[in-house]
């Protein structure tokens, strides 16, 4: 999907005014977040495991070239193919060419955020290949023609009535209106698609360098369908989704799943070690692994942003974030919403257009607190704010007037005399426009401040003067 990160403020305002979404988003906190908190508390050595998980990611990312090379060698040795894609266009082209070459009619997709970066389903439909999302949430937003709202719950913003309406439009029959009835309807629609699929595209939760394996975590079983039925299986991964050893998986799965939904484990975890073996009863004949950069090198090369590549895409920081829960997923304007999205999206899509995202946080630190690999998101947001204000001019998000304003502010605050005189002058100039010592409404560019709060007038008798007077009166 194309980034639209410049529309954050408008999107946020629209979402705040939407009562259906505001109600739906309650589940993010009351469900996912509270479940994650109890799962952490119930896991022995939980914090040690998070430290260990972070240490694995730190080591792997610091030696990413070595482990990617090992991964590629082992996928190759297993009889699979590896394609290194510098950007989403190259990745899409590889997969589309493969689909055409293998005479593919129907592609089933299991949830993959990287394929969302590529708008892969759209690209396929555009060349006449049927591409169906099979995660129920993804299926719903595909019917709605929307982007995912949450990393692990893409349709969290839709009410059951809205889903019922969409299913009715698609099937032409009444699908019922309870979540149970709607799920059974979707089961019927998707089972038929699974059976005729000849290619699948899945994401990758972990790729194992030493064995060339990929691991998929799902609750629905669509990941299993995708790795069992079609002739061709294509797995798409961001270049960071790698662990060195098979034995590293147990702990990584634990911290991922418990952070995501609070379950001890998801209903299904599937490990794929290449195409089906000759003697096997079924399974894909071909396995392709597409490893995607698409802007990630920019995170890798900045030591202050590198740890964004430790992200397991569990969504815990979204659920914990008081801003995400109110402004919703679409306001962030790209595939990755919430605190981690506020770091990743501006870097991957360009800081200039994503300049509002690093500011979409109160820096309360809840995201860092819940992150399974303790990514210091607040610190990275501060770093990006600094880049927006003072970074190289091509990526800078601040305007000339804004910078001039802050320069004047700095000048006025540098010397105590200037500060004192400035305060008094502001009081003198501002008094006619203030009421009860407050500005209720100011003209642009200050109107942004007074739209949702008042600005106090500087005092006519500053503390210094009062202090001096008290001393003179002998009270001090």
């Amino acid at each position: 999907m194309l980034p639209k990160t410049e529309n954050f403020k408008r999107g946020a305002a629209e979402t705040l005014a939407d009562p259906i979404i505001q109600e739906s988003m309650e589940a993010v906190y009351n469900g996912f977040h509270t479940n994650r908190q109890s799962a952490g508390a119930a896991t022995e050595g939980w914090d040690d495991q998070r430290d260990r998980g972070r240490a694995i990611k730190e080591h792997t990312i610091a030696n990413l070239d070595y482990y990617l090379n090992m991964l590629a060698d082992n996928v190759d040795a297993n009889g699979g193919n590896v394609f290194f894609a510098p950007d989403s266009a190259a990745a899409s082209e590889y997969i589309l060419n493969l689909a055409r070459d293998r005479d593919v009619k129907t592609v089933i997709k299991s949830k993959s955020m990287v394929s969302e970066e590529m708008s892969l389903a759209h690209e396929m439909e555009a060349v006449g290949i049927e591409a169906v999302e099979t995660d129920l949430g993804e299926y719903i937003i595909q019917l709605a023609g929307e982007a995912p709202y949450h990393i692990i719950a893409p349709a969290i913003h839709k009410s059951q009535d809205q889903v019922a309406e969409m299913f009715k439009e698609t099937t032409g029959v009444d699908p019922g209106d309870t979540p149970e009835e709607l799920t059974i309807t979707a089961r019927g629609m998707l089972r038929e698609t699974f059976q005729r699929a000849d290619m699948s595209v899945t994401g990758v939760n972990f790729a194992v360098a030493e064995s060339g394996s990929i691991v998929l975590v799902t609750n629905e079983g669509n990941g299993r369908m995708c790795t069992s039925i079609p002739r061709v299986h294509v797995a798409v991964m961001g270049m960071e989704k790698i662990v060195p050893s098979i034995q590293d998986l147990s702990m990584m799965l634990r911290i991922l799943i418990r952070s995501a939904t609070g379950q001890r484990i998801s209903s299904y975890v599937t490990m794929v070690n290449g195409p089906r073996r000759d003697e096997e009863e079924d399974g894909p004949e071909e396995f392709h692994l597409v490893i995607v950069d698409n802007g990630r090198m920019r995170l890798l090369e900045d030591p202050k942003l590198r740890e964004a590549l430790y992200c397991l895409r569990c969504g815990a920081c979204l659920n914990a974030c008081p801003v995400y829960r109110k402004v919703g997923g679409h306001s962030y304007g790209w595939v990755y919403p919430g605190p981690i999205g506020a770091v990743v999206s501006p870097v991957l899509s360009g800081l200039k257009q994503g300049k509002d995202l690093p500011f979409a946080s109160s820096l309360c630190g809840a995201c860092k607190e819940v992150c399974p690999v303790r990514i210091d998101i607040p610190n990275m947001l501060l770093h990006l704010r600094n880049e927006v204000a003072e970074g190289p001019s091509e990526s800078r998000g601040s305007g000339r007037m804004e910078r001039l304003g802050w320069k004047a502010w700095r000048f006025g605050n540098m010397k105590s005399g200037r500060f004192r005189r400035g305060g008094k002058m502001a009081n003198f100039l501002g008094r006619p426009f203030a009421r009860d010592g407050m500005f209720r409404r100011l003209p642009p560019p200050l109107s942004g401040w007074t739209r949702s709060r008042d600005l106090p007038l500087t005092t006519s008798t500053p503390f210094r003067d009062r202090f001096k007077k008290r001393r003179q009166r002998g009270e001090g």
């Binding site: 739906s24 190759d76 590896v82 719903i140 089961r187 069992s228 299904y268 070690n273």
Partner: protein
């Protein structure tokens, strides 16, 4: 098979990291540094624990599997297990039953118990239920119940582990609306850690299968109104029958 675009890509990674190619310093965070001998010794210790501690492990998995959403039945003998399997099919009112071709069916007489109820199960292999893979797929989607053994169960998570292979289709535990898994005492692992120790040991020995599935309850979704519903794509009902 083929690797495309590797050198340029890895060059950019090294550039971004400001490093040159080479083997990383040993690091204790990952298990990669363990030698094959270490792993093999650890795997032997795991196998010993599975048998020495079998009673406690089977009790633990009975509990965690129930928490995960399995309907758990414990029986004393293979004959009782077969009867329980047949009774589940009868209670569900089904007649189209598919099973894998695994060793467990040599000890647990499922076919005979089903036959006593007038049900003839198909065997989900190319050559038995079907002549080719599309035929097998059709049989799996048509079946109302799929019956398999269990390679390992995991006490920590209530998980059944299956490695698809000759005789064990990927779909028999997935496509039918109900899955019945038969677990033998002695096949229970304490946690995910031991599972991946064994997998790595198998990998080192060149004995890893094409894929592995960890199954921990029914197919589930929470994607409509954040309400958990069972049976979105795979089985809506899963039974674990524990023998011994």
């Amino acid at each position: 098979m083929a690797i495309t675009g590797r050198e340029a890509f890895l060059g950019r990674v090294r550039g971004a990291l400001s490093k040159s190619a080479g083997v990383p310093e040993p690091d204790n965070a990952t298990h990669l540094g363990l030698t094959d001998e270490d792993v093999s010794a650890a795997a032997s210790a795991v196998r010993r624990e599975m048998s020495d501690n079998a009673d406690a492990l089977v009790d633990a998995v009975a509990e965690s599997a129930a928490t995960a959403g399995w309907k758990v039945r414990r029986v004393a003998s293979p004959e009782d297990a077969a009867d329980v399997v047949a009774q589940i099919c009868v209670d569900a009112g089904v007649s189209n039953v598919l099973r894998s071709d695994q060793d467990v069916f040599n000890s647990v007489p499922v076919d005979a118990a089903l036959a006593a109820q007038g049900i003839t199960p198909s065997v989900a292999t190319v050559g038995q239920a079907a002549q080719d893979v599309p035929g097998l797929k059709q049989a799996a989607f048509d079946a109302e119940v799929g019956i398999t053994g269990v390679d390992y169960a995991i006490a920590e998570t209530g998980t059944v582990v299956l490695h698809p292979r000759e005789g064990l289709s990927r779909l028999v535990s997935l496509a039918p609306g109900r899955h019945i898994a038969i677990l033998n005492r002695g096949d229970v692992l304490p946690s995910l850690d031991e599972l991946f120790t064994l997998e790595r040991s198998d990998y080192n020995a060149g004995e890893i299968e094409g894929s592995m599935n960890l199954i921990s309850g029914p197919s589930r979704t929470g994607d409509i109104a954040a309400t958990i519903v069972d049976g979105i794509h795979g089985p809506f009902e899963v039974h674990l029958v524990i023998v011994g």
